[in-house]
Each structure stands twice: as C-alpha cells, then as structure tokens.
C-alpha cells in the first residue's frame, strides 16, 4: 500500500514532471540570482538554496507539485543581517529557521496560520510585490538610457513571447536575447558577474563559522523567527493554491516539517533560507508537473545548468534580471484588491492597507503581518461587541422583558448595564438571552451586577432562553459576586 502510494507520488506522471521540472529550472535561475542580489549575497548562495531546497522538498515535502526555493519574501527579511554580520551568520540563521519550522510542524502550528485573516494575506503579497519592485531601483541609479531600454525590451519579450509559443518560458527567452545583445553589442552595462562571484561547483557541507555563543543566538534568533513565520505563511498559501489548481489535498503539517528540514540542509550547504514559490509552482502545474519528481528534476537540472553554463550566467546584464523582477512583482501583486478596495468592508480594507504600510515603513514582512493580525483582532472584537437590547412592557403582570442580542464577553459588557432602566416602576424583570451568548466571567459579572441593581429597587429578575453552554458557565461562576445567589 505505502509502496504503491510512493510510486504514485513519484512516478505517476513521469513525462509531465520531467518536462515541467526543466521549465521550472530555467525559470528558477534568474530568480534565484536576483533574490541573492536583493539579500546582498553572492549569486551562488541563492542558487545553492534553490538547488538544495527543491531537491530536499521533493523527498520530504507534503505537497507534491509545489516548487520551493530561494524567495523574495525571505531575501527581503535577511538584508540587514547580511549587511551587519555577513554570510556566515545568514547560514546559521537559515539552519535555525529550519529548526523553528520543524517545531512548528511537530506542534501542528500550521493550524494557527488560519488565524491570519485574508486581508492580512492580501496585504502581505502586495507589500512583498512593492518591496521586490523598489529593490530594483538601486540598479537604475546612475545608469544611461541603455539600461532603461534593455529593461523595457526584457519586459516586452516576457509579456509578448507567450503569444508565439508557450513551450519555452518567456523569461528565459528574454534573458537570452538581452544577454546576447549586451555581449555582441559590446554594451557597457552592469552584469551578474559585477554583483558577486559565481563558482561552477556543487555545494559542499560546511558548518557556519560563527562563535557558538548566547550572543550569536540572540543576533540570529529574531531573523530566524521572522523567516520561519513568513516562510510558512507563504508556503501554506502556495500549498492551498496548488491544492485548488490540482483539485487535490495536501498534508500541511508534513509540508511545514519538510520546509524546516530543507532549510537546515540548505544552511549547511551554503544556501540562504527559502520557502515555497507561488509563481514557480503555478509554472510547474501549468507545464504539466504534479508529482514529487518535478521538484527533484527542477533542482538537479538547475545545478547542472549552472555548472555547465556558469560562464555565460555571469554575463547576464542586471537590466535583464531587473526586468524579470519587475514581472515577478507585477504578478505577485493582487490587483483585484485595488480594484475592489472600495467594495470591501472598511475594516478589511484598513487591515490590508495597514499591513502594507507597516511593511514598507519597517521593511519587515513579519512585523506587518503581526500588526495586521492585531488590528483585525481589535476590529473583530469591536464588531462582535455590539450588543442590542430591546425592551417590552407587560402591563398586566407589572413586568418588563429585556431581549438581549449579541456576544457577552469582556470587551462588550462595559456599557451593557447602561442599557437597562433600574428605576422602572415594575415588579419583575425578565432578561431574555435566547439570542445572546455568555463567554466569560465578565459576562456573568455584568449580569450579576444588573440583577443586584434591580434588587436594590425591589425588582425581581428572572432569566430565560440561556443556551446550554452559557447556562453552565453561569451556574459555575454566577452569584459569586452577589449576596443572594441565584
């Protein structure tokens, strides 16, 4: 049975997976290099990451058909660490990121991710898109019109070439054409080679050379925690998208654990932390990939191409890479959220915009997500803390009925007693809680307080319509705060 399932997961779609894997490898190379440059490390660091993560995930991931590698979200989080402490600290942080992610997987924290509201996720991808775009601006500083023309040409090819054929990824065609123009036209433009070294060899196992002290841990821990959270957030989002595209299920906890293992391995082999990639996964599925084999082929094929063609890769002009990154930014951005911004509930729109704003101010995706989650929690509490009380007077019985609708809990009960009139000249008051729910001791406390105030005026209080759960809660803690008990 298990063997059968493994065979299906690996070799259920060999032809489609091999072809898609090759397409993905070709599309991965420029992105891995560009993300390395964003992070401020040599192109090899991103390429090794793409190789290691893709290969390891093929074996231990929970979502066959999904592609993982070096990503923009992770690269953006590590910029300061690299600038302040250098590559070795980044490798250590990558390993620690993996350890944190494995713990997330072990403790099944993938479930917690559903507490991240959709408006925060939309803000997250939009902020990511903007950050990837602005990271390209530095390449334009002090450049001539040649740079702009080459970027324009790259984008034109990327968007128009698919009209001719979709068999070859258009980003690859754009890069080949623009690189050829730069080489044969003897254009004096910045290239990948100017940004760092590209060694044509396989990654080797190395323990990061850092002092193993408490201080080091304190330096890398905040970065690792941010990367672990952001990595899982993007991974689980991507996994859900692949689930939907392929109409299949996946194991999210296994995927979290797999991402952790992949990052640990990557850190020891000189790669930077990564996660699942939405764009590449879409390319993979569109090209016919659906099983574990496609990620393995993508990783191996990428490494092979770098070893064989490394000499050419360093001659790719930065203009071509900037063009590819602008495309990545455009396709990452959720345009429908801008189009529908005025149609969304105001609170959702506010959460989305706040998430984006905080990311752009702090340059940290995880802080933006945290702020977004907090803000939506506050909005949520405010929304459900609206309590509606309607009254009805039954003259015959000298009785007043208060009908309460809403959720009674700490945030909602503060002005709750104010909705009752304690000086009415009635004998009895009935509080109808059919459409209310009591959540905590603040709710019980508020009811006790109301009861007490009525009794001070010699009005007897009865309750009706308590649901089971509320009834239990009331029985358990009710009456503790008042003398008579009930």
């Amino acid at each position: 049975m298990i063997l059968q399932k493994m065979k299906q997961e690996w070799f259920g779609n060999v032809r489609g997976d091999v072809l898609a894997g090759i397409v993905v490898a070709l599309a991965l190379i420029p992105e891995a290099i560009a993300f390395s440059i964003i992070a401020g490390v040599d192109p090899m660091v991103g390429l090794y990451a793409a190789f290691c993560i893709a290969v390891v995930i093929a074996f231990v991931g929970g979502r066959p058909g999904m592609i993982s590698g070096a990503t923009g979200a992770m690269a953006l989080l590590m910029v300061n660490l690299v600038a302040d402490y250098g590559l070795q600290y980044l490798l250590a942080a990558t390993i620690l990121t993996g350890i944190i992610q494995i713990l997330f997987g072990v403790f099944k924290l993938a479930k917690v991710m559903k507490f991240v509201p959709r408006s925060v996720m939309v803000g997250f991808v939009n902020a990511l898109a903007i950050m990837i775009l602005t990271a390209q601006f530095q390449h334009f500083v002090g450049e001539t019109w040649v740079m702009y023309a080459l970027v324009g040409l790259t984008l034109a090819i990327i968007y128009l070439f698919p009209r001719i054929t979709k068999a070859v990824p258009s980003t690859l065609v754009a890069i080949i054409v623009v690189t050829a123009i730069a080489i044969y036209g003897n254009l004096n433009v910045g290239t990948v080679g100017d940004m760092g070294e590209l060694t044509q060899q396989l990654p080797v196992f190395l323990i990061p050379s850092i002092p193993f002290t408490w201080e080091t841990l304190m330096i890398i821990f905040p970065y690792s925690l941010s990367m672990a959270i952001v990595g899982l957030l993007e991974t689980l989002l991507t996994a859900s998208i692949v689930d939907d595209m392929t109409d299949t299920e996946s194991n999210k906890n296994k995927e979290s654990r797999g991402q952790g293992i992949a990052n640990i391995v990557t850190g020891f082999f000189g790669g930077m932390a990564g996660c699942a990639m939405i764009g590449q996964s879409v390319i993979n599925v569109k090209s016919g990939g659906s099983r574990r084999l496609s990620a393995l082929v993508a990783g191996v094929c990428l490494m092979f191409l770098i070893i064989v063609l490394g000499g050419l890769v360093v001659q790719i002009p930065m203009a071509a890479l900037a063009g590819v990154m602008i495309m990545v930014s455009i396709s990452t951005f959720d345009w429908s959220s801008v189009k529908n911004l005025n149609k969304l509930p105001k609170t959702d729109a506010a959460v989305m915009v706040t998430t984006v704003g905080i990311v752009l101010i702090t340059h940290n995706l995880s802080i933006g997500v945290l702020a977004g989650v907090l803000l939506s929690a506050i909005f949520f509490a405010a929304k459900i803390s609206n309590i509606h009380v309607s009254e009805e007077l039954v003259l015959r019985e000298q009785k007043k009925i208060y009908r309460v609708e809403g959720q009674l809990f700490f945030a909602s009960v503060s002005d709750f007693p104010g909705k009752f009139n304690f000086t009415d000249s009635v004998d009895k008051v009935e509080i109808d809680l059919t459409h209310a729910h009591l959540w905590d001791d603040s709710a019980i406390g508020a009811l006790d307080k109301i009861e007490m105030k009525f009794e001070e005026n010699n009005i007897k209080v009865t309750y009706s319509g308590l649901n089971d759960e509320s009834h239990h809660l009331k029985k358990r803690i009710g009456g503790l705060s008042k003398a008579s008990g009930h």
Binding site: K114, I241, M245, V282, K286, S337
Partner: protein, 138 residues
Amino acid sequence: MFKRILLATDGSKHSARSANHAIQLAEQFSGTIDVVYVVDEQTSKSDVLHNDSKYEIERKRKEKIQPVLDQLETTTIDYKVRILHGEPGPAIVEFVNTNDFDCVVIGSRGLNNLQTMILGSVSHKVAKRVDCPVLIVK
C-alpha cells in the same frame, strides 16, 4: 441525437445566452446537460487568497454560475455542475474528449480582432479540437 450536452460557462451574460440554446437542444432531444466552469491559474490564486476555506471558494464559484443554474432549474432537464481546473480551452477539450459528449454549447465572447489576437478565443480553440459538434452562440 444530442443526448449529452456540455454547456461551457464563465458566469457572464454571454454564457447565460448559451444556456438558453443548450436548454432548447436538451428539451428537443430529451438530453442531459453538464454545466462546466473552468477555473484558471489566476482565478485559483486570487480565490485562495481572498477566501478562508475550500468550502467558501466552492460556494462563491457556484454563486458565480448561479444565473445559468437558475435557468436550468426552471426546466425538468437533468443537469450536473462540473468545476474544472486549468486553462479554459484545453481543459474543456480534454474533458469533452475523455467523456462521451454529443454536443458542446459555448458562447463567443465577442472580442474584436486585436483582443482575439492577444487573448485568443476559447470557443475557436474548443471548436477546432473537440471530437463532437460544437454550437458557438454569438
């Protein structure tokens, strides 16, 4: 003759018109209708991003083609809803050719020449590559 009819829809007004024709065909030949809605990659991505659960996504998609389903509800025709994934043209072609359909009813979006060149026409692609008669509703 036309016992199993496939009605391709994208929830637009155009496709509501095709539904009309499909219903007439089905009534004439006392056939059944499979309503097919294709979710492409871009839609997958934004649907997942904007909805909390699979169930919500499914509900929203059904809602989208509801006008067509309402039309079918007013008849006695036996119908099924199928949600496919992928690029609309190829996805419909594959589904039609692996299942025995007698006729495909599909709307033409009424694009101009330039739009057809850039976007490509789904109805043309389908008409060219399926193995059964196709009714393109303008």
